[in-house]
């Protein structure tokens, strides 16, 4: 019990330290940090538009963070969620503007399922390379992000272009669009789909056979093999699930936020999601809170820049500092073995 309390205390401390460092940077550059942070939170919460934007940014952050958590359960560091997000998004857009005579709910489901399948299939490349050949997955997934981005860019500029001069696909059928409930912001019912997905994934990870296998493999693949779990299959399955969640994140962006696929729309959403997961050390229960916190920072940044002149990229810098500190304190998920060792030596003493 004290251990988990410690973990949350650590998290709180790192949050405070990073906010402090951010304030120091602002002071050095001659801005007023208190005013900047005030505008930041005002820009994230006050008013329908601001709060709605925060919620809209929260959904993809949450899902991509969950996608990252799933793969890291099996010991795979999946930096490729961004690519899965792009491919899932364009797949959903294609379904959305092609099968226009399907009824609404069915079409939405169809879009999401296709996006999940495409995301999952894309993740099969790095996962099989990792499982069978031991290829470093960080390298492969990050390089494949570029490939995925260029594929979607080709499609949206070529065969699937709406031919309006803007690189985007035709709009999806009206009945496939998710309701935007906080106009004028783009917050949409994708929020509830996202939460449902998270609950399903949480159930899979903590209550199902699959989840148990992932965790066992992630902790010690040799032990897993010894007790009769095939680590290769588990790695591949975990990546399938991760890819599917990444694809769904893309689908929700298209169905809820935009209504079409826009070239280069994400600008690193999945990386922020990954940061949220890394900061909370892949503790799935904490992910929603951290994803929300990052969404607040991201959506408030614009207001901060507008009213105080502090460049909004300082928020990214603060988040990055945050993550550097968060990784340092003997990372929970990736350093379990070391931690266990420390613990036993402590006990012996």
């Amino acid at each position: 019990m004290t251990k988990s309390a410690n973990k949350y205390l650590n998290l709180l401390l790192t949050t405070l330290v990073s906010i402090l460092i951010g304030a120091v940077i602002m002071l050095i550059l001659g801005h007023n940090p208190i005013q900047a942070y005030f505008q930041l939170f005002k820009g994230a919460f006050v008013g329908k538009l601001n709060l709605g934007t925060t919620l809209q940014k929260f959904v993809p952050l949450l899902l991509t963070a969950i996608a990252f958590v799933v793969s890291s359960r099996a010991g795979v560091f999946n930096v490729g969620v961004e690519g899965e997000l792009y491919l899932g998004a364009i797949a959903a857009a294609w379904v959305g503007f092609t099968f226009t005579n399907l009824p609404g709910p069915l079409l939405i489901l169809f879009c999401i399922v296709v996006a999940a399948i495409i995301g999952a299939l894309w993740s099969f490349i790095p996962s099989s390379l990792k499982a069978y050949l031991g290829v470093n997955e960080v390298c492969v997934t990050i390089l494949m992000n570029y490939v995925a981005k260029y594929i979607t860019s080709y499609l949206v500029n070529g065969p699937w272009s709406a031919k309006t001069g803007v690189p985007q696909t035709p709009a999806i059928a009206a009945q496939a669009k998710l309701t935007q409930f906080m106009k004028p912001s783009q917050a949409n019912t994708g929020l509830f789909i996202g939460i449902a997905v998270v609950i399903i994934v949480y159930w899979i990870l903590t209550r199902s056979n699959w989840g148990y296998k992932f965790t066992t493999v992630g902790l010690n693949p040799f032990h897993a093999e010894y007790v009769g779990i095939n680590p290769k299959n588990s790695i591949i399955n975990a990546m399938f699930l991760s890819g599917a969640v990444g694809g769904i994140a893309g689908a929700i962006e298209v169905l809820g936020t935009y209504g079409y696929f826009l070239d280069n729309f994400s600008s690193g959403i999945a990386f922020d999601g990954m940061l949220a997961a890394l900061i909370v050390k892949n503790d799935i229960k904490m992910v929603p809170f951290m994803a929300f916190f990052l969404a607040v920072l991201k959506s408030g940044a614009l207001g901060m820049e507008r009213y105080t002149g502090v460049p909004k990229s300082i928020v990214d810098t603060i988040i990055a500092i945050f993550i550097i500190f968060a990784t340092m304190e003997a990372l929970f998920a990736f350093n379990k073995k070391k931690k266990a060792k420390e613990k036993t030596t402590e006990e012996q003493m």
Partner: protein, 309 residues
């Protein structure tokens, strides 16, 4: 399609030119891999130093100062990774990724704060790393095309390959380093200060990564663009894996990626969609990585079977 206009003598220099930034990144990854650290943060080291190089070159007008500043920035970035990983037990992949994102954010911030613009920055006031012109080569078209007007960094890159090879395989320090990479506990038992070795290789990696960044922003081009490394750091890491952490084979890997890059640029003239041309180097890198590790696995299998029989 006219093959001879794609595969002509100018392709040789085009390959070397495109390979050099990847080569420096590969060497930065090689030296740490030999010390048991897979330096995923190479990309971030490169990006930070690329920015610093442009900033210093723009403000002071000296490419030497810019190169030095880039190397210092590279070392500082590498030291953040080193301290986090070695002292505070951060997972190297996690801290490497964190550094990459940090570099992206801080350069984005820096370009707005110090250069007053967003996206990209270029100016005639940026002084580039000089190219070396050898007058007597100009008489021969082929020699001129292949050997003349190399950037200083392109030559330095090749020198570095051999310097690192010597350092790793012909010096006591190199032997110790490789023993750290093979089996850190045994090295520790043999009286080698493993952590000190690791800090040393991270500093060297920072210097090499700094050169990579400086070359990218004031040698290869004369500008800074947001995320201008564009995965070159990771290609370097891939080249390192391809070469099994041997500088010479990693060089071969970088040349291969540079070759694909230059071929791609030429294919664009034949009506290939630009997106396919742009994704080509990434696909080839992943494919080469997979094939090289597959052949390694095969070799290992053969070795094992010959031992058991």
């Amino acid at each position: 399609m006219d093959l001879s206009s794609i595969f002509d003598y100018t392709l040789i220099y085009a390959t070397i030119r495109a390979a050099t930034p990847i080569l420096f990144a590969a060497l930065a990854a090689v030296i740490t891999q030999q010390g048991d650290i897979t330096n995923i943060g190479t990309e971030g080291i490169m990006l930070t130093s690329a920015f610093v190089a442009v900033l210093v070159s723009f403000t002071t007008g000296s490419w030497i100062l810019a190169l030095l500043a880039a190397m210092i920035a590279g070392v500082l970035t590498a030291l953040i990774i080193a301290v986090a990983h070695i002292k505070y037990k951060a997972d190297i992949t996690a801290i490497g990724t964190a550094i990459n994102i940090f570099a992206l954010a801080i350069t984005k911030f820096g370009i707005k704060q110090f250069l007053g613009t967003t996206g990209s920055f270029t100016s005639p006031k940026i002084v580039g790393i000089p190219r070396i012109n050898i007058p007597f080569l100009q008489n021969n078209k082929y020699l001129n095309g292949i050997f003349n007007n190399w950037s200083l960094m392109e030559i330095l890159g090749i020198i570095m390959v051999f310097a690192l090879t010597f350092l790793l395989y012909r010096t006591v320090w190199g032997l110790r380093l490789r023993s750290v990479g093979h089996f850190p506990m045994a090295a520790e038992t043999a009286g080698i200060n493993v952590n000190k070795m690791k800090y040393q290789v991270m500093v060297i990696s920072g210097i090499l990564g700094g050169m990579a960044g400086a070359h990218l922003s004031i040698g290869y081009s004369q500008m800074f663009i947001e995320n201008m490394t564009n995965g070159r750091g990771f290609m370097g890491v891939a080249a390192m894996f391809f070469g099994g952490a041997n500088p010479i084979f990693a060089w071969v890997g970088s040349l291969l990626f540079g070759f694909v890059d230059s071929i791609g640029g030429r294919l664009q003239a034949y009506g290939w969609p630009s997106q396919f041309v742009l994704m080509l180097p990434y696909i080839i890198t992943v494919a080469v990585l997979a094939v090289s590790l597959w052949s390694n696995a095969k070799k290992e299998e053969k070795k094992k079977s010959s031992l058991t029989i």
